[in-house]
Symmetry: C2
Subunit: 349 residues, 2 copies
């Protein structure tokens, strides 16, 4: 059901599909790189697999490739932009670069972006900020897809929160939604006939369960850490909305458009060199990672990993051996690239 395709071919195929969807050359180039990199890193859900839905949203007018970030307000180390429902990836890349530029000048910088669209893989932007040498923090609010703690209906977004630490061997990157599992992950387990390793939600009777199908049915996915993920989801939602003068998750619910349409995003960059030399910062990180690497593993012979370490290993393997793609989706994106298929053919399936 899956096969390996060279990175350059994955990227080029996505690029042509996006050109056919009406994106400008530069937009298509940037977005194709980000989608292909996400697949290469093992985040297929927001890599290749997400391309058809992105094109569907463009056709529906929920994403407007002509929408560009417009500066609404600037004060000191902060800038606020309206994303005008432009392409989520290019808007978010722009905003993360602005945050870095502000941090270069002021030590810390924040760019708040309202009225934007799905940024695809959340970790992308914190990762880029860390690759630029800055501590990167970013989050987004989404429409409601998870019950608040104490509720049995979807009433808050899963609002991914990302935080990345620069390091010479590659950034340490947290990329974490507020639900214990994504809906996409539940589907993967169900199709494989497997139970979740840990409870992922409640069934219709209100029992915690590891059965992915029962959770898809009840739509009661579990916040990570129970009340903790629920609480964090709502403060992230509120902060994203008020700091961008943008929509909260419940405002998006009221509009009822697609995933993250009109959402609010926050990008904060911080210069580690404010406290010390870059070398000393590297030493602190290296020492801490060495301690983590040395932690006694549960399984003899295995090794404790820091966040992002597995991703870097997958990226290296994908670049050497090819990117793993789902054959059905790969065929769809190839057909879109060759202009042999219309998105409505795919979206209606």
């Amino acid at each position: 059901m899956s096969k390996k395709v060279p990175f350059a071919e994955v990227k080029e195929t996505i690029r042509r599909a996006l050109i056919n969807a009406g994106l400008q050359e530069e937009q298509a180039e940037i977005c194709a790189a980000i989608h292909a990199e996400s697949s290469a890193d093992g985040v297929e859900s927001h890599g290749l697999n997400r391309v058809p839905r992105f094109i569907d949203y463009v056709q529906k007018g929920w994403v407007d490739p002509k929408g560009q970030p417009e500066l609404i307000r600037a004060q000191g180390s902060v800038e606020v932009y309206d994303g005008h429902l432009g392409i989520g990836i290019t808007n978010a890349l722009f905003a993360s670069k602005r945050a870095v530029a502000l941090a270069q000048e002021h030590g810390i910088g924040m760019c708040a972006l309202r009225n934007t669209t799905h940024w695809m893989r959340g970790g992308t932007y914190a990762w880029k900020m860390a690759e630029a040498g800055f501590v990167g923090i970013s989050w987004i609010n989404t429409e409601s897809c998870m019950p608040l703690w104490g509720s049995d209906v979807r009433s808050v977004g899963n609002n991914p929160f990302c935080m990345a630490i620069p390091h010479k061997d590659g950034p340490v990157v947290l990329d974490m939604a507020m639900s214990q599992y994504a809906y996409g992950k539940l589907g993967v387990y169900r199709l494989a006939g497997k139970q979740l390793p840990f409870p992922g939600g409640y069934d219709r009777e209100g029992n915690l369960t590891c059965d992915p199908g029962a959770i898809e049915d009840s739509m009661r996915i579990l916040p990570m850490g129970y009340w903790k993920g629920s609480g964090m989801a709502i403060v992230l939602d509120l902060a994203a909305a008020i700091l961008s003068d943008g929509k909260s998750g419940s405002d998006m619910d009221a509009e009822g458009k697609g995933s993250c349409t009109g959402c609010s995003q926050i990008f904060i960059a911080i210069d580690p060199a404010i406290a010390e030399t870059k070398e000393e910062a590297e030493n602190i990180v290296s020492r801490r990672i060495a301690a983590a690497d040395g932690a006694h593993p549960i399984k003899e012979g295995s090794r404790v990993r820091v966040p992002g370490e597995g991703t870097l290993a997958r990226r290296k393997r994908s670049m050497e051996e090819g990117v793993t793609v789902d054959e059905t989706i790969w065929a769809q994106v190839q057909a879109l690239a060759e202009g042999k298929m219309d998105i409505t053919d795919i979206a209606s399936r």
Copy 2:
């Protein structure tokens, strides 16, 4: 075993105990207020209950009441201080005020504090920043008290992360350690002969368990959200250390002193008025909270609450009816206040 004592009496008794421990008048006044407020808010573990241990640390020289924050570096919207092992509460209050002052000038401000001591209840500082009208974010690193995901020995701190949103009816405040339960909470359940409502760690055989005593025995407390809390704990640790040029959790482990001795803390304040008027920010928050309040509850007749709402209710009740105190600890602190008991008598028990 517990009784109610008027807030003013709790505060005054703690104040006198702190004076006897060698604190200056102003330090004792500030710390007594914070400890008493934490108990009034229902966080006894870091309120009254923590006073004897704080005094013990002062006697041991792990907290130096003469230590004052010293400015190490300033750049734009950022200031970095060395806390010189001063009193955790006064150091952290100072740093949160500096973050607010920087945010007033630049839109966002960060104060990083290294070489400081336990700040007691983590939420205090984000709460204060929100009461001043700012979005407040703060976190701390601690010595290792929790296994990293994949390890069976303590290898990362529980590194509390706090985030508060200003609101006219009282801030919305997340105050969240990276472990699912605190060790203190395990003890409370064990002493009450109760099982935890959700698994809180592994027993010695490596099975997830709700038995608090089995987890205290194995010391394998569970990160909130399994791999998620573990990953967040390590990025918070790294960021706190590099942004303050301070100690990481593993550096503290190597020193082997008491809880949070020499730790690193980060305080970020953001002005919501950068994006819009304060009124509009209030409207966004009110609308979002109303949606949360309206979420269908699991139990008919109950209500979904946002973080901080329960705390505000408890605070109100404590101010009206008195603060709930553990009688044994209350007697100890009274004896310390009256100079009738030495801390070594208590610490040796």
